[in-house]
Symmetry: C2
Subunit: 332 residues, 2 copies
């Protein structure tokens, strides 16, 4: 802007203001560290509720009638519809095994299906495995440790791998980049680490086995050898590309893959784990997806983009969010 | 989504999970209150830097050479360009009054011009008034008080009004709406209050005086009366529409006007006041405006929309933001 054709004396003062701005960026970094401590504190407060959720989903606990009271228009409608049926003597019998559903079957698997960002990663052969997923938990780094969080995917014993927990750790940075201090906007995911999945024999869905014929030079005999090649799978989520290897830069594809991985990690932590039931029912998706473009908007939403609302949505337009609320990943 | 054709026993458990979710929303509200306390704490830490900024902008303090050191590519280029000039013996003389610029002339006024969201509100006749704007400060509500923040616009003595400070207070709400607890995303601006501007005679730019001829019924004599009608002006910012009047609802236009007002208040607090110098130089705008669509993107940015980046911008794609960072107002 006009700042370039300023008199020297004024430019000089602007530089002083910029120095002050850099100091403020460093104070801001401290602010975000304290917010992170608060998140750690509150994670402990949410914990009992998440455990209760898990015990209900897993069927270990049957909630009381009081705990199950809920009113929503749709339910009202359903009731009405049912009354009608009864009157018309069409009342359908509850399935005999009604009582025998354990907890909430396929709770997490259904979430994976409802959330585009995840369903895009899930291959058909991943589905039977994900049906064994019983809980997803977020663990924050301990105070004093470098800022990070770990996603824990808890599985029931299954025929695919021996791990009971698969983990993905996201490392964060909360300090202004000296080369560009003004771009600092708070802690950012800068790297992640997966885990080794102990696949049972022949169950590894992240690789395909292809057969290859080989001819022996001398004897001319032909033998068939098998070769492993990587295969698309959600479970590649646990063996991400490395960024940490400083110096060498990633090609655009890898950078994009990694960016998406970070978005997903952020989204698990910020949205799915705290509000799982709403992603199971789809409410979280419908709520946030008031785009004209429907799908498109939803997708953006899944990418953590928060501007999923249209002008008409005055209810929310009227309420800009305050600081300190979960920020969304950026994606255009 | 499939949640509707679930067996009753499972639906029942889902309702229990929803009850848990509501409890979590109320814990979340407490989290945001604590974040707000943190913001109050940090506001005090920023204060001395903002005062230093003001004293440099106002010309009360001349920064030392050390305080003015700054390196940027563009400056390097400028230096080079100057050396060239000198060689070509074209060195333009510094204006004689070089030393005599007081502080940073038109600092805040320039920011109003650089930020689309604001420049759109500024009328030609507002400009000479805004040139007297010397500082903008944010004051948070005291602990225990209802959550709010006040924007203070400090003016030097001027020919337009007698107030030295114009204020705009934004009231916030940080609790889940009982009728829609799941939409809770943190504190939201719910109302605002302006102040009375003590305009000097004939200086009120928020009204136009129009002349009207009136004919006396009986005598048939004609007299000219003057009538005040509202006029566009930035200073209408200090007499916003009322929402508080519960019950009666606003028409769409008013709702949109109010939504925009809230966006602006949020943007002053979240962006302009903390990073004023970067909006003066335009860096904050350029930084955040990596849209293909340039202008369009910048505008959105001005509306506090944070997704101003394109896929190629891997640098930032790689870094989803963590919780607790200033959230942006929503606008699509």
């Amino acid at each position: 802007m006009a700042a370039n054709n300023l008199p020297k004396a004024v430019k000089r003062r602007i530089n002083a203001l910029k120095q002050l701005q850099v100091k403020c960026a460093h104070i801001e970094a401290k602010f975000y560290e304290e917010v992170h401590d608060l998140e750690r504190k509150y994670a402990a407060l949410y914990q009992p509720f998440f455990e209760k959720r898990q015990s209900i989903v897993g069927g270990e606990v049957e909630p009381t009638d009081a705990e199950c009271e809920w009113h929503s228009e749709t339910e009202e409608e359903e009731k009405l519809a049912e009354d009608m049926k009864k009157k018309a003597v069409l009342a359908e019998k509850e399935p005999a095994n009604e009582g025998h559903y354990k907890g909430v079957p396929d709770f997490w698997f259904t979430i994976f299906r409802n959330v585009d960002m995840l369903s895009e990663l899930v291959q058909e052969y991943d589905e039977p495995i994900l049906k064994h997923l019983q809980d997803i938990r977020v663990k924050f780094s301990d105070p004093g440790q470098p800022m990070s969080f770990t996603l824990e995917f808890h599985f029931e014993p299954n025929d695919y791998f021996t791990n009971s927990v698969l983990t993905k750790t996201y490392k964060m940075k909360s300090e202004p980049d000296p080369s560009d201090p003004f771009s600092f906007e708070g802690p950012e995911i800068v790297d992640c680490e997966g885990c080794t999945i102990e696949w049972k024999k022949g169950k590894n869905v992240t690789v395909k086995i292809i057969k290859k014929k080989q001819k022996h030079k001398g004897r001319g005999t032909v033998r068939t050898i098998t070769k492993q090649v990587p295969s698309d799978s959600f479970f590649n989520f646990f063996s991400p590309i490395k960024v940490s290897g400083a110096g060498e830069t990633l090609d655009e594809d890898s950078e994009f893959t990694l960016a998406t991985d970070f978005e997903i990690g952020h989204f698990f932590r910020e949205r799915i784990v705290p509000r799982a039931v709403l992603y199971f029912t789809g409410e979280a998706i419908e709520d946030e997806d008031n785009f004209e473009e429907g799908e498109e908007g939803e997708e953006e939403e899944m990418e953590g983009d928060e501007d999923g609302e249209d002008e008409e949505d005055a209810e929310r337009d009227l309420k800009p969010k305050d600081s300190g609320q979960p920020a969304e990943c950026k994606q255009q």
